[in-house]
């Protein structure tokens, strides 16, 4: 484990882009690492726009270029960089200025140019021109307090997006322009994060992590949900999840990180655990010699690296 940064600077978001660069959105701003999360440097806004003081969400357009298109959000709105974070431009969101809590970029961004931004009070904003113009698209979204967004890997074809809110899950099948409830039965508590299988187009697997009742899974694109009992979350929140393969997910509980595997969609078992408190963000990055590396941020500000077995 490597402690990369100062403490008392909670990590809100982590992403890894194709060339191995990792970005971290923190209370003190946006940071990047070009050496697999060993060292970090802060990114500052260019002459055109400052970065939000506190970066609550960050996303990158798909691609392996070092000149990645990045979106970073925080209190007051969203900024965009098309040169890997050197220069930033303000994205003009409809007023009043929102708190951006989640950003999702289309896997087919180069073709469809779609970016979605979830907000704390204003629902979902959508841009179909690389973030130039934004419009609020909240038809059917009965809860506007967005906590997470997750796009189908086959978004270019199925246009499916999931939004986690303070009172449940909503699904869009038209690229985030209208929403329908995809509710977990008997559960209207906050859904803190979502994860979608890389093979979603064929297996329809979606995971949803709640604040007090643990982890749920749907194998039919959010139509039906079942409780994942293999991870005993108790009443503690599941703060982050990521689906690293169709049969493997990593779940961040309040006091530990759990790697679960399943031979099929109907069964998951715990294969590894790491005792880490207060995890708030995690991402998978390419490690050395082809190994997969987990990068984990927590409330105390530490960013750690874990090699997956």
């Amino acid at each position: 484990m490597i402690d990369g940064l100062d403490s008392h600077d909670p990590v809100h978001a982590l992403i890894a882009v194709g060339d191995g660069t990792i970005y971290a959105g923190r209370r003190s701003g946006l940071y990047c690492s070009h050496d697999a999360a060993v060292s970090w440097r802060p990114l500052i806004g260019g002459s055109e726009a400052p970065l939000p003081a506190e970066v609550t969400a960050v996303a990158a357009a798909p691609g392996d270029t070092a000149q990645a298109t990045l979106f970073a959000g925080g209190q007051g709105g969203l900024v965009r960089s098309t040169d890997g974070g050197v220069q930033w431009r303000v994205c003009m969101l409809p007023p009043p200025p929102p708190l951006v809590t989640a950003i999702a970029v289309s896997p087919a961004y180069a073709a469809d140019r779609v970016v979605l931004a979830g907000t704390a009070e204003d629902g979902v904003f959508r841009s179909a021109d690389r973030g130039e113009r934004w419009a609020s698209w909240n038809f059917g979204l009965l809860d506007l307090r967005i906590l997470a967004l997750a796009l189908s890997p086959a978004f270019a074809v199925d246009e499916t997006v999931f939004a986690a809110t303070e009172t449940g899950i909503f699904r869009s099948t038209n690229g985030g322009r209208a929403w329908r409830e995809a509710m977990i039965p008997d559960c209207d508590e906050p859904v803190l994060c979502l994860a979608i299988s890389p093979d979603y187009a064929t297996d329809g697997l979606v995971y949803a992590a709640t604040e007090t009742t643990g982890l749920y899974r749907s194998a039919d694109g959010g139509m039906n949900w079942e409780h994942v009992t293999a991870v005993a979350a108790g009443a503690q929140p599941v703060n982050a999840i990521t689906c690293i393969s169709p049969a493997e997910i990593v779940v961040a509980l309040a006091d530990r990180l759990v790697l679960m595997q399943g031979a099929n969609a109907g069964y998951l078992r715990v294969v590894a655990q790491w005792p880490i408190d207060g995890i708030t963000a995690l991402t998978v990055a390419p490690g050395q010699a082809g190994h997969r590396m987990l990068v984990v941020g927590d409330t105390s500000g530490r960013i750690q690296r874990l090699m997956l077995p």
Partner: protein, 542 residues
């Protein structure tokens, strides 16, 4: 047209034959509009009503325009069909010609059995039972309607207007079955659409002084508190508690929804607006009737987390606290409308209200009540779509607007109850069940009803084929033993899986057409005598 008839009473068999002649005249006017190649009906205006003739392809409207036949003996049959068709048009908006074609076949075939000695009363109950069997089979075939492309195909099945159908496919994919939709005309070719976020009501701002954009005559507020009441405000001091409560919430904008504001009260709001203390606008509670206003205020309260203060409950504005005020991220008003977006109400309460309204919608059969409930549901769902329909001439614009309205009604039903293979193939697929019912029946009347239905189930598909230029005999021959869901795709002339080919009908509309036609035809078979008056009234109702 003569309005003076010879008074008389006509008994069987003449009564049935004249009734049948009138019914056939009406159905003959409607039948050519069925299918993807509709032929239209030109209706000349009444004297003094206007000059432009109407070009109609809606069965309901065509029937409504035919208020009397010159043939006095045939007139009752025509008016009977007219009322059946118009009632169906009012209730579900479409399926009227299918119902008319089914009616004609059921009545004509039924009449043969009555003449041959079947008891009309027993035959009536067996025909109605047959309708329920058909509806059960249709429900079994129904599949959900989802996705822009599929909705567009269902829209195209209503009227062969690809441009309009594509647009409505997009619109209904976004707003869903319950969404708010306004269909307007504009003086341009083509069709277009706009979307407005949030809840939109009719009713403009109470004073021009409140505009923040005088050029656009519009006021927009951010982070607004809302005072919700049907009380009148004569004394400006009544507003002070609400204004103080808004400031206590930390907001600098207040939307005042009250029945009336005196000049003095308007002055108080204006003074504070100019001072920058509190930006405000005021509107009246939406709706004209008190019940409508209460419903609207209740819905706004749910969306914004406020508590409405009602005159009938003895509420007073002097006791308003911060807890009574709703809150919204954005509020706007112009000369004719006001709207709210980003209400800060409890989403759980919002879901409960939507579920309650949906239950109320399902429980009522009153079309006006359903429309009101649907509008409330649409506002709570978070947005509104406006479809703008244009064309080259006024006649074309009116025709397309009518088609858009009819298609919208059909799509709402289809999104709720699903879709069926179109082109009459869903009815054809009910024949095996009807044959099985006939084989298991022991009563003569029951077998007769099954025979009548077996013919009637082919009638809509046959009418579509004939309207598209196919020979009636050849069209009938093609329906002998089709696989389920297959039918004649009249554009290509091939037998296809209709659902796969994108030819779809609304399950709700088809079931309503079957039931309406069966009940009307079965009842008409029990007519034993007709009474003719000297001065029959023109059928202007509806």
């Amino acid at each position: 047209m003569s309005s003076r008839y010879r008074p008389s009473i006509l008994f069987q068999p003449a009564a049935h034959l004249h009734f049948q002649r009138g019914a056939r005249r009406m159905v003959a006017a409607l039948r050519p509009t069925l299918g993807p190649f509709p032929r239209r009906v030109l209706v000349m205006p009444e004297r003094g009503v206007g000059h432009a003739p109407e070009l109609l392809d809606s069965g309901g409207l065509i029937a409504r325009r035919m208020v009397q036949l010159a043939d006095a003996r045939a007139d009752p049959g025509a008016m009977y069909v007219r009322h059946m068709v118009w009632r169906l048009h009012e209730e579900v908006g479409d399926g009227t010609v299918t119902a008319a074609v089914l009616f004609e076949e059921l009545f004509d075939r039924g009449l043969r059995f009555v003449v041959a000695g079947c008891d009309p009363g027993r035959l009536r109950s067996q025909l109605v039972a047959g309708a329920e069997l058909v509806c059960a089979e249709l429900a079994r075939q129904a599949t959900p309607l989802a996705g822009r492309a599929q909705i567009a195909r269902a829209a195209e099945s209503v009227g062969a207007d690809t441009e309009l159908a594509t647009l409505l496919g997009e619109v209904f994919d976004i707003i869903g079955a319950d969404g708010q939709l306004d269909i307007r005309t504009y003086q341009r070719p083509g069709v277009s659409r706009e979307y407005v976020e949030g809840m939109v009501y009719e009713g403009g701002v109470l004073s021009r002084l409140m505009y923040t954009d005088a050029v656009r005559q519009r006021v927009e507020l951010e982070h607004a508190a809302l005072l919700l009441s049907d009380l009148a405000v004569d004394d400006p001091r009544d507003l002070v508690p609400a204004m103080e409560a808004a400031l206590a919430l930390g907001v600098r904008a207040l939307v005042v929804i009250v029945d009336h504001l005196s000049d003095a009260a308007l002055g108080l709001l204006d003074v504070n607006r100019r001072a920058g203390t509190l930006h405000t606008f005021a509107v009246r509670p939406p709706g004209l009737a008190p019940a409508e206003q209460v419903a609207a205020l209740d819905d706004i309260a749910i969306l914004t987390g406020g508590r409405p203060l009602y005159r009938t409950a003895g509420a007073s504005l002097r006791a308003v606290t911060a807890a009574d005020l709703g809150q919204a991220r954005r509020a706007w008003a112009d000369t004719a409308h006001f709207g709210l977006a980003g209400g800060k109400g409890d989403p759980r309460a919002l879901r409960a209200r939507i579920a309650m309204l949906r239950r109320a919608y399902a429980a009522t059969t009153d079309a006006a009540a359903q429309q009101r409930l649907q509008q409330r549901l649409g506002r709570l769902m978070g947005g509104m779509a406006t479809v703008l329909v244009g064309g080259a001439t006024e006649t074309e614009i009116a025709l397309r607007k009518g088609l858009a309205q009819r298609t919208a009604g059909t799509l709402r039903g289809a999104l709720r109850t699903g879709v069926l293979p179109g082109g009459g193939s869903a009815l054809l697929a009910c024949r095996p069940a009807m044959r099985a019912a006939r084989r298991s029946s022991r009563l003569r009347d029951e077998r007769a009803a099954c025979d009548i239905w077996l013919h009637a189930l082919e009638a809509p598909a046959r009418a579509i084929a004939v309207n598209a230029g196919y020979d009636p005999g050849a069209a009938t021959g093609r329906y002998a033993d089709l696989p389920p869901g297959h039918g004649l795709e009249v554009q290509s002339g091939r037998i296809l899986d209709m659902a796969r080919a994108g030819i779809l009908d609304s399950a709700a509309v088809m079931a309503a057409a079957v039931r309406t036609a069966a009940h009307a035809a079965a009842l008409a078979l029990t007519i034993n005598a007709q009474v003719y008056r000297a001065m029959p009234e023109t059928s202007i109702e509806p």
